[in-house]
């Protein structure tokens, strides 16, 4: 099938969905192409889930500008899009004299970048805030504007709002080539047919250089850098931290941190492993040993028995080490949001705003007449008071049936996650939208039930239900004849 649109956004991570939401508010038709079965399936699903204050990046860099602006925008968007964010503040801890000098430098840099409220705390005050931190910590940089967030939920929020404003999201839609159509514009070849468009936005994460090259722009390359994490059960939080705790940074990374999540879990990680593969997200024994050793410098007693899962993500590092945001120098109409490593999550709304403004300028597009703000209400059963829970069950009995017992997620919420705009289509998609399967049993009990619900609601047979990736089929028909 051939499609015609004003803008194609390639990549459905946090950056692509934020850009789509911003573009969909203009009087432009927009299509997003994502190669995986669901959005937020790449770096967005495996990162530190932190909204950084903005003191890390060199003053004047794109990273610094986008970080500070993005952080500010999230404070505005939080209510509108009902985003799961907690402004916990962050600490960068110093254990040596050199590191103390380093955090003072960070403070000065942050102030130059426009970060508000930075303070240096002594060790006593640091441990008052986070009692499990090492007694070796001499002082720390406190940044009150940093926060923790739920990245999948935010990408879903951007996607839903974009769809509400008329954008189309194609999943399982891999871009295979980019042609220049006769006269003007592009023909973006995909596994779901060609999409003709005047503008192309490249938000393809670790594949952004490949997409750029398809259009003839070979001005940059992306270097994959893997980061591994260990996630802990909620019961372990008392032994870990309630906010964000960094060590003093190294040249390449912000270091191995100990950090809370918006749902009461805690994680340690990431390490930073440069690699050739853009897809190898295997967790390794040396990697886990490294992050355990690193985290112990901050919290000496780690409750390893409460670990519930490990994962790894790949950061898309550009060869300039800065974000590449704006129109391609060589291909007119092609816009990059590339090299989006940390603080990419924080920067997404700022990058989206900048690109939408540029495209509005060249296309002459104005704001839509009836821009829809927000997104459809999404009841979270476990967070409601008893009277509202009762009312919800009375209205829809499926909210009275708990499917995921670890996280108390009801059938009503799972069906809603599937039926929403750009709804879940995979088991992990359900997990990322509702948290079903995210608890201590890791889907042991609810997995089969979620598969059954996906099969029923999507009207596909059970063997067609996928976990996450394109070919991640989970169960098969029995040998010697299917189900009677």
């Amino acid at each position: 099938m051939e499609r015609k649109t004003d803008v194609v956004v390639i990549g459905g991570g946090i950056t692509g969905t934020a850009i789509l939401a911003a573009l969909a508010r203009l009087d432009l038709s927009c299509v997003l192409a994502e190669k995986e079965p669901d959005i937020a399936a790449g770096t967005t699903k495996a990162n530190s889930a932190i909204l950084h204050a903005g003191f890390d990046a060199p003053t004047g860099s794109m990273k610094a500008k986008m970080n500070v602006e993005g952080n500010r925008l999230y404070h505005e968007l939080q209510n509108e899009l009902n985003l799961n964010i907690e402004w916990t503040g962050s600490l960068v801890c110093a254990t040596t004299e050199e590191e103390e000098a380093q955090i003072k430098e960070l403070k000065a840099r942050g102030e130059a970048n426009g970060v508000l409220g930075l303070e240096i705390w002594d060790g006593g005050k640091v441990r008052e805030k986070e009692p499990n931190l090492s007694s070796a910590i001499r002082s720390a940089l406190w940044a009150p504007t940093a926060g923790i967030c739920w990245p999948f939920g935010m990408a879903a929020a951007f996607a839903e709002n974009a769809v509400e404003n008329g954008a189309e999201i194609l999943r399982d839609c891999e871009v295979t080539g980019i042609r220049f159509a006769d006269g003007k514009g592009f023909a973006v070849e995909t596994t779901q047919g060609a999409i003709h468009a005047k503008y192309v936005v490249n938000a393809a994460g670790v594949f952004a250089d490949k997409i750029a090259a398809m259009a003839g722009d070979t001005s940059f390359s992306i270097h994959p850098r893997k980061g591994e994490y260990i996630l802990f059960d909620k019961t372990a939080q008392d032994k870990l931290v309630k906010g964000i705790v960094f060590p003093a940074p190294t040249k390449t990374t912000k270091g191995i941190l100990v950090c809370a999540t918006t749902h009461g879990n805690t994680f340690i990680g990431p390490n930073a492993q440069d690699q050739d593969s853009r897809e190898d997200t295997a967790v390794t024994t040396p990697g886990m040993d490294e992050i355990i050793a690193g985290a112990k410098k901050l919290v000496p007693e780690l409750p390893m028995g409460a670990a519930i899962t490990q994962f790894a993500g790949i950061r898309a590092v550009s060869d300039t080490n800065d974000f590449i945001v704006g129109e391609s120098k060589t291909v007119k109409g092609l816009y990059h949001a590339a090299g989006i490593q940390s603080p990419g999550l924080t920067s997404a709304p700022a990058i989206a705003k900048l690109l939408a403004e540029e495209i509005a300028k060249v296309s002459g597009a104005k704001s839509k007449a009836n821009v829809k703000t927000g997104r459809p209400a999404q009841p979270v059963f476990r967070e409601l008071p008893a009277e509202e829970q009762a009312a919800l069950i009375a209205k829809d009995a499926r909210y009275g049936r708990v499917i995921c017992r670890c996280e108390t997620i009801t059938e009503g919420e799972i069906v809603d996650a599937i039926k929403r705009p750009c709804g879940a289509r995979t088991v992990d998609g359900v997990k990322r939208r509702t948290r079903a399967g995210m608890g201590r049993c890791q889907g042991g009990f609810c997995g089969p039930r979620v598969i059954e619900i996906l099969s029923r609601e999507l009207d596909i047979p059970v063997p067609k239900v996928r976990k996450d990736g394109a070919d991640s089929y989970m169960y098969e028909e029995k040998l010697g004849g299917g189900r009677k």
Binding site: I308, A386, A394, G400, T408, K467
Partner: protein
């Protein structure tokens, strides 16, 4: 205002159903069982193999057969009500149970006694930190068992099972019977953690290799499992470099331990035991909170459902007595502690009055032992009980009934140990 039940039972598996029957037999008039699944019976419904009930019902039953038997014994009793499809969200110290189901909505139920019979859950890949990718095709053995036996699908065709616990062994046979190829069963310990009869009937009979002291060091595959790397482990269970080999498979099933499901107990603030991961109970299976009892796998993971039922009978009886105000007052409290070669023992203490009382101890040993063994229960210098054993394995629960006549007179804490013959 809501009705007040004599006994509310959280969980309608074999423990909950047996406890309901025992409560009824001991005079409770209003008993409510809350079950989260669509039907009562708990995990037994997916255990379609036989071997259940030899002790408790004196005949061999399948899992669903055993569950049905438990259910049949209570289903027509006017004193017993069962709500299925019902999730308990909270149990409070005042014995209010907050629960929801699609028909009745949000419920606040009051009980005079509560029995916790929530069972256990499986340890996951994340809990044991298996390195590698995270594709489809890695399941806990129990989840796969439900899909195969209840939903009618197979998890894959070329299977490796990690862990030689009973569920792993049973699934090795089950997958073979479904026509799948079970490539290997891997066990990190130098001994199997399953019942001997399951090693024979589930592995040996199907020529499935069991690799002791081996574990998975990497799972491969992007979207779906394509294979694993296995290595031998040393006596500290660390993989030994240079011993790695690959196994081609599309599915990894994990049978790496069971964990009592005690979120509600923790919410209640019950005193818990660090090794059993269950509530600390006395011989009546009363927890640290008066009127709140617990039995079965939620207290400590049993090997046989028969023992689960035995323990539930105790809890059901005393929960009913407590509800009716018939419980005898305890005059002294004795600890039951573990001595040589015993890892865990339940109950952890005895609350004794003047009357004679039946006391049944369940225990597990720390390591496999053979030869002339002697199980001993000492109270101070006095030997309360002893019994010769030929063999003891961590995977098999040892059950011991202390002589009733001696119980009333006990005055010193008990120590349970297993001595090796000289």
């Amino acid at each position: 205002m809501s009705e007040i039940y004599d006994v509310i039972i959280v969980g309608g598996g074999p423990a909950g159903l047996t406890a309901a029957l025992a409560a009824q037999q001991n005079g409770a008039k209003k008993i409510l069982v809350l079950e989260r699944d669509r039907e009562p019976g708990g995990i037994l419904q997916q255990c379609v193999h036989n071997g259940f009930g030899l002790h408790h019902f004196k005949e061999e039953l399948t899992g669903p057969g055993y569950a049905q038997r438990c259910y049949d014994l209570v289903k027509d009793l006017p004193e017993v009500e069962i709500f299925v499809d019902t999730m308990v969200l909270e149990v409070r110290k005042d014995k209010t149970v907050c629960a929801i189901n699609p028909k009745r909505g949000v419920m606040e139920l009051r009980g005079k006694s509560i029995i916790l019979t929530m069972g256990c859950r499986e340890r996951t890949r994340g809990a044991i930190r298996i390195p590698g990718t995270r594709p489809a095709g890695v399941y806990t053995a129990g989840a796969a068992q439900r899909m195969v036996n209840m939903e009618g699908y197979i998890p894959g065709k070329k299977i490796v099972i990690l862990g030689s616990g009973d569920i792993g062994l049973i699934m090795a046979r089950r997958m073979s019977l479904e026509g799948c190829k079970v490539q290997a069963v891997l066990e990190i310990c130098p001994f199997s953690n399953g019942l001997t009869r399951n090693i024979v009937q589930c592995l040996n009979d199907y020529d499935i290799p069991l690799h002791l002291s081996h574990t998975i060091v990497a799972i491969h595959g992007k979207d779906r499992v394509t294979g694993i790397t296995v290595a031998k482990v040393d006596d500290k269970m660390r993989s030994i470099p240079g011993t790695e080999f690959e196994i081609d498979c599309d599915t990894v099933l994990l049978s790496v331990g069971l964990i009592p499901e005690n979120e509600l107990s923790n919410g209640l603030g019950l005193a818990m035991h660090p090794l059993t991961s269950g509530p600390i109970v006395d011989q009546r299976r009363e927890t640290s909170e008066p009127g709140i009892f617990a039995a079965g796998n939620v207290v400590h993971v049993h090997d046989l459902v028969d023992f689960v039922s035995d323990e539930a009978e105790i809890a059901g009886k005393f929960a009913a007595k407590a509800a009716l105000g018939e419980d005898s007052k305890a005059s002294h409290d004795l600890a039951v502690t573990t001595g040589e070669n015993i890892r865990t023992c339940v109950p952890q203490h005895l609350r004794l009055g003047s009357e004679a009382e039946k006391v049944r101890l369940f225990m597990r040993v720390t390591r496999p032992m053979r030869g002339k063994l002697k199980l001993k229960v000492m109270s101070g210098d006095e030997e309360v009980f002893s019994k010769p054993l030929m063999i003891a394995k961590p995977s098999e629960m040892i059950a011991v009934d202390l002589p009733e006549a001696k119980i009333g007179a006990l005055s010193a804490d008990l120590v349970v140990s297993l001595e090796e013959g000289k």
